[in-house]
């Protein structure tokens, strides 16, 4: 039932490796326990991202190379990966739970008729089974999932849960994967424009001011933005505020939003529901402001201010000058 290889799907985004893939190579190496870690990449001819992947020390880099991967659709990508998996069934395939990963992995799963667990927060081996840990039913429920009878075991793993570590002690073997590119004209990528998410790119922000329902007002949004600017940070929100005109889903922190790992997180009017807190576990210093002294968010905070978020923001802005 499959060989003893763990494959990590390396995603390309704007001609670069999407950083989650590096994190997953490191994680795969940590849990491998003798299994071979293979980084799998589908790239166009002149792209040589294997030189970046090498730094993280997978045992092998397997390359599907074809010019048409530039602008390939989900169907073409899933078809190419399927051919490679069929030739040499791995024990597990790990995808980043990015938009692309979440789109291609289930198509590949359907071709393979195996299990796929989406959006895992942790993975580890129990014997030959990959234990897949993910939150479910919103507030406060985690579950462990396995796929005992089929290989490969498939998961998508949330970005920024694991740290990518450079490992130059291993010289990965670089191999070409055998496959044929089958064009599928039913869907054509006409254009792809990078979007400037610098205003909202929470994933890599070092400072985050997070607003919750309890602190929402037009004025507080403005003050939070000023403070974020002053501290070189970004403003994020908990789920209820994604319905407000100032914010969208890409501003959301937490289970159905972004996982963040800032050096400094300032929570304003956020009570601390698990859907939110699973997304901020990696924050280093945490300051929370809430009118309710018993709010659960204070259990996860280094500093607590019981009072009005607006007053707190104004005081911070005033004293930083």
């Amino acid at each position: 039932m499959g060989n003893q290889e763990i494959w990590v799907y390396v995603e390309i985004n704007n001609l670069m490796v999407e950083p989650t893939s590096f994190q997953l190579i490191t994680k795969a190496k940590q849990i491998a326990n003798g299994r071979k870690v293979v980084a799998l990449i589908a790239e166009p001819k002149m792209s040589h991202l294997e030189s970046d992947i090498k730094e993280y020390g997978p045992d092998e880099i397997r390359i599907l190379r074809d010019e048409r991967f530039r602008g390939a659709n989900d169907e073409e990508l899933a078809d190419a990966l399927f051919q490679v998996v069929k030739r040499n069934t791995p024990n597990a395939i790990i995808f980043p739970a990015t938009v692309r990963g979440r789109s291609v992995a289930p198509r590949l799963q359907a071709k393979l008729q195996t299990g796929l667990t989406a959006d895992c927060l942790d993975i580890y081996y129990d014997g030959d089974n990959l234990v897949q840990v993910k939150p479910t039913y919103g507030d406060g429920v985690m579950c462990n999932i396995i796929c005992p009878d089929k290989r490969p075991q498939m998961v998508t793993v949330r970005p920024n849960i694991f740290e990518a570590k450079v490992d130059r002690t291993i010289k990965p073997k670089i191999q070409a994967a055998e496959f044929e590119f089958h064009e599928d004209a039913r869907s054509e990528v006409e254009a792809e424009e990078p979007v400037d998410h610098t205003s909202t790119d929470l994933t890599n922000a070092k400072v985050i001011i997070a607003l919750g329902r309890g602190a929402y007002s037009e004025k507080n949004v403005e003050l939070a933005r000023q403070l974020a600017e002053k501290l070189g940070g970004k403003v994020g929100v908990s789920r209820p505020l994604t319905d407000k005109p100032e914010f969208t889903h890409s501003d959301q922190i937490g289970q159905s939003g972004t996982t963040v790992s800032p050096d400094l997180l300032i929570n304003l009017g956020i009570s601390g529901a698990v859907q939110y807190t699973v997304g901020v576990e990696k924050a280093k210093k945490v300051i929370s402001v809430n009118t309710n002294r018993d709010a659960p968010i204070f259990d996860l905070s280094d500093y607590g201010y019981v009072g009005d978020a607006g007053a707190f923001l104004e005081a911070m802005l005033g004293n930083l000058e």
């Binding site: 299990g115 006409e190 792809e192 289970q255």
Partner: protein
């Protein structure tokens, strides 16, 4: 344009918790609601129908009580609804769910467009749409923020890939998964609520669908949940600041060297 929207019922926010002592799942709010993202999918379907004519059909898998969610969707303006309901469907993972939905879609008759919300709020997988697309061998456009009609057989879809926006021209039949940013779902008006009770709502079980019993429900699922538990929380020792905002701010700025 024949449009099928696959919807799901989810527990109301915060209604499911784990008893920290027994590790049992406790459901407080018994009433489920329509997965909020699915309302965006229904809205997209209704807009496509307004532009191109045709019909909007809702499809759900679950117990008989899920007819309530279908009534909601019919009250938004969908034309008909199908519920796939059987004990045999229970315990399905995404693979078995998609297999069952595909059987329903085939029996309804092949649509031009199949729509899904980007993900369900409870299990948060977002996988079922692409699996259905693969099982039906049709193309997909996931995480859509815009859907425009080019012709009776072609749509143009903007996909938000987080760091880029991709424009895709897709030939029908196709599967589309929509993001919540795509639109503001319409409200159910009183008149549409009244009308919804006259709209056809069909319930099918595994016999009606003529499915392979080994591919549905728990039996058709490749994944097994081995443990359900409350997550461990690492707590910190919080230092409460002065109630005077100015003093609080000064302390933080000093101690954190901001």
């Amino acid at each position: 344009m024949k449009i099928i929207v696959c919807v799901k019922q989810v527990p109301e926010n915060d209604s499911v918790k784990i008893d920290p002592k027994t590790n049992d799942m406790v459901r407080t709010g018994a009433q489920g609601v329509m997965n909020p993202f699915d309302r965006n999918a229904i809205e997209t379907a209704l807009e496509l129908k307004e532009k191109n004519g045709g019909q909007v059909i809702l499809l759900i898998m679950g117990p008989d009580s899920f007819t309530e969610v279908l009534r909601d969707g019919l009250a938004m303006g969908a034309d008909s609804a199908y519920l796939l309901s059987s004990k045999e469907f229970g315990g399905a993972d995404t693979l078995a769910t998609a297999y069952t939905l595909v059987a329903g879609i085939k029996k309804i008759g092949k649509p031009d467009v199949i729509l899904f919300g980007r993900q369900s709020e409870d299990a948060d997988t977002g996988q079922v749409g692409p699996i259905v697309a693969e099982d039906l061998n049709i193309p997909q456009a996931t995480f859509a923020t815009k859907v425009e009609t080019i012709s009776a057989t072609t749509l143009e879809v903007d996909r938000d890939l987080e760091s880029s926006i991709q424009k895709v021209e897709i030939k029908l039949p196709a599967e589309i998964t929509v993001r919540s940013e795509i639109n503001f779902p319409r409200y159910e008006t009183p008149i549409n609520i009244v009308k919804s009770f006259d709209k056809p709502l069909t319930i099918w079980n595994e016999k009606d669908l003529n499915v392979d019993p080994d591919k549905i429900g728990k039996k058709g699922s490749q994944t097994i949940v081995t443990k359900v538990y409350a997550p461990k929380k690492e707590t910190k020792q919080v230092k409460f600041l002065s109630k005077k905002a100015g003093d609080a701010a000064k302390t933080i700025i000093n101690e954190l060297d901001l």
